[in-house]
């Protein structure tokens, strides 16, 4: 960071004025033991916004996104999702998780359940829908991600790309207000990355609020409203995808982009 940037203090990644906030993160700090992994994060997101978070590995971007549904506990600062603040209160945590869909790098489908059971589990157990209703919605989303014919199979019988699309359908069937993607294509073979990104692009264009940790700059260019570059636990630079492609301001941003583009 330049000296000027240090004097400016932490970079704020505020959503445009006038929107309704779905995520607000204020003064977030987190440590793993003695290691300061997130430093003074200020970030907010409006409904319908697509925010892409990029940065070198170890920069804290996955940790940040995992704090938003409390898979990681934070030590300082405020995280508010859809008007509910994340505290130690289990009811708040449950409420936030119900309204937040998450897609993992390693898919994390339940291997002992069929695809359909994977997708209907939470709607039936958490939302208390009737099984028939849950299955109907599940089939709707499985069709949307393009694999209704795999509903009776087990995850182990599907390809990586298909598994990740099931994971997306599993999150969507809960009808979440915001979707978190934690490097959804990083564990996939190159030839199937496209089919997962395609689903995500459709979702973004339909107005889903999405926070996406990824290296796929093509995806960012196509649908992101804002891109956030993180390094060493800090937000270093915020801007539109065009800003990042055309003239990134910070030296660290340029160095990182030159490696992945």
């Amino acid at each position: 960071m330049t000296e000027e940037a240090v004097l400016r203090g932490p970079v704020r990644a505020d959503a445009p004025e006038g929107g309704s906030r779905i995520i607000e993160v204020e003064g977030l700090n987190k440590w793993f033991g003695d290691f300061h992994v997130l430093k003074d994060i200020h970030l907010s997101m409006n409904r319908g916004e697509v925010v892409v978070i990029i940065g070198p590995s170890g920069s804290g971007k996955s940790t940040l996104i995992r704090c938003i549904n409390r898979l990681e506990e934070h030590q300082e600062g405020r995280i508010v999702v859809d008007g509910v603040e994340l505290t130690d209160d289990v009811r708040h945590i449950d409420q936030v998780r119900r309204e937040t869909g998450m897609v993992f790098q390693q898919f994390n489908l339940f291997p002992h359940l069929t695809v359909l059971e994977n997708v209907t589990l939470a709607p039936v157990r958490v939302r208390k829908w009737r099984k028939s209703q849950a299955e109907e919605r599940a089939m709707y989303f499985l069709e949307k991600v393009g694999i209704p014919e795999q509903a009776r199979k087990y995850p182990g019988q599907l390809s990586g790309g298909q598994q990740q699309r099931v994971a997306i359908a599993r999150a969507l069937t809960m009808e979440p207000k915001v979707m978190l993607f934690d490097e959804p294509t990083s564990a996939l073979d190159p030839e199937v990355i496209g089919e997962v990104l395609e689903v995500m692009v459709t979702l973004a264009k339909e107005g889903m609020s999405m926070a996406v940790v990824t290296h796929e700059m093509g995806f960012a260019r196509e649908v992101a409203d804002r891109v956030i570059f993180m390094d060493a636990g800090q937000i270093v630079e915020v801007g539109t995808p065009e800003h990042f492609f055309e003239n990134p301001r910070e030296e660290r941003t340029r160095a990182f982009l030159s490696k992945i583009l």
């Binding site: 449950d94 002992h112 199979k153």
Partner: protein
């Protein structure tokens, strides 16, 4: 594109198998012949002894002792009725579940149906009192099977029926009141294979859920629960079962604060065997819990499942599946370890063997009949233990679906 080719033909047949596996080279052929010779010699000698020299008289003459020991002979119909109820339900379960591919209940049912048929034959030859009893048990099983086949909707009533059968079996074996056909039979009179089965089934049925609870408790966030569970597991595993049987026989009345005569030896043995087995079950289950990847917990959390739902729906099914062989191994170990209950003065199947060996008729046989009795005991134990392990392999295969 190159033309598609058939895979090379594999030659099959007994001769091909023999050549590739046993006679692929001179050295191999020599080793095969030698070991076959040794096996044939040993097996032949054993068979010769079993058929011509062994004295099976004491075994045939004491079948009732082996089955129930001192259970009143005039009330023998009650253990038979209990067996009939169980085989009936097993048959119904097997019959109703026949459509769902390879049936585990089916394998178990036919195995024990075969046993009842065999025992009917034995009854015809050497056990007159029991021939109608075993016949009735077999017929009950067959009726259950047919009922299940004809009306698969019976399957819905099965869980309740199994629960009810537990009560029926206890009432039949234990009885109540002082007079009449159902008069109470003190557990001190129980013995033989009936006792072995009661101890094993109760022990397995209780130690399995208890072991799961202990394993979960060992990973609890609450220190007090964790300490209690770890303490229990480590203390129990730290001493041999035989010692716990001693301790239980002295301590159970003390802990429950009743007179020693109020708690029968059967209850004391049951407590010791069950708790001992639960500690080992807990460690097996813990191994399975550790095998479930962290991502599974996280995915379940992210979907908003509660802690109990995560454990019950996501973690336990995967954890238990991973350790089926170890759990069944523990169940088999418990089944065989029940032979130690002679410590508290019970006469289980194994101990009846000792009694028969010391009968005057047995002592008259030159050299005694220890070897005959041991072989007989071993075959019977094997018959049950093998069925457990076969069922566990079937279960693994079925649960393995889709996990390749």
């Amino acid at each position: 594109m190159p033309p598609l080719r058939e895979p090379p033909k594999r030659r099959r047949g007994a001769l091909v198998w023999l050549r590739t596996n046993l006679f692929s080279s001179w050295g191999n052929a020599l080793a095969s012949l030698l070991s076959m010779g040794v096996l044939l010699y040993l097996g032949g000698e054993l068979l010769l002894w079993v058929l011509t020299q062994a004295h099976w008289g004491p075994v045939w003459a004491n079948l009732r002792l082996f089955a129930v020991y001192r259970y009143p002979p005039e009330l023998l119909w009650r253990p038979f009725a209990a067996s009939a109820v169980v085989l009936l339900l097993l048959g119904a379960t097997a019959g109703a579940g026949r459509r769902s591919g390879e049936s585990i209940a089916g394998g178990v049912f036919w195995w024990f149906f075969g046993l009842s048929a065999l025992l009917t034959l034995v009854g015809l030859v050497a056990w007159p009192v029991a021939r109608w009893g075993w016949l009735a048990v077999g017929v009950a099983g067959l009726l259950g099977y047919l009922a299940g086949r004809v009306e698969p909707r019976l399957a819905r009533a099965l869980p309740w029926s199994w629960g009810a059968s537990l009560v029926i079996v206890v009432v039949l074996l234990n009885g109540f009141g002082t007079g009449g056909a159902l008069r109470s039979v003190s557990t001190k009179e129980w013995g033989g294979f009936m006792l072995t089965l009661v101890l094993s089934i109760v022990g397995i049925a209780i130690s399995f859920p208890l072991g799961i609870a202990l394993a979960l408790g060992r990973r609890s966030k609450l220190p007090i629960i964790r300490v209690v569970c770890v303490g229990f597991i480590e203390v129990v595993r730290g001493a041999p079962l035989i010692m716990w049987l001693f301790i239980a026989s002295l301590m159970v009345p003390l802990v429950l604060d009743v007179s020693p005569s109020a708690v029968g030896p059967l209850s004391r043995a049951m407590v010791a065997v069950t708790l001992f087995s639960a500690a080992y079950m807990a460690e097996n289950v813990r191994g399975g819990l550790q095998a479930v990847p962290k991502g599974q917990y996280e995915a379940a959390q992210a979907l908003g499942l509660s802690g109990w739902q995560r454990t019950r729906l996501i973690v336990l099914p995967q954890a238990l599946r991973a350790v089926i062989p170890a759990i069944v191994g523990q169940a088999i170990a418990l089944f065989k370890d029940t032979s130690l209950v002679f410590i508290v003065g019970l006469f289980d199947f194994f101990n009846v063997g000792n009694i028969v060996a010391n009968q005057s008729a047995s002592l008259l046989v030159p050299g005694g009949v220890r070897l005959e009795l041991s072989l007989f005991l071993a075959v019977v134990y094997w018959f049950f233990a093998y069925r457990m392990s076969a069922a566990s392999r079937q279960l693994e295969r079925r649960l393995g679906v889709g996990e390749r």
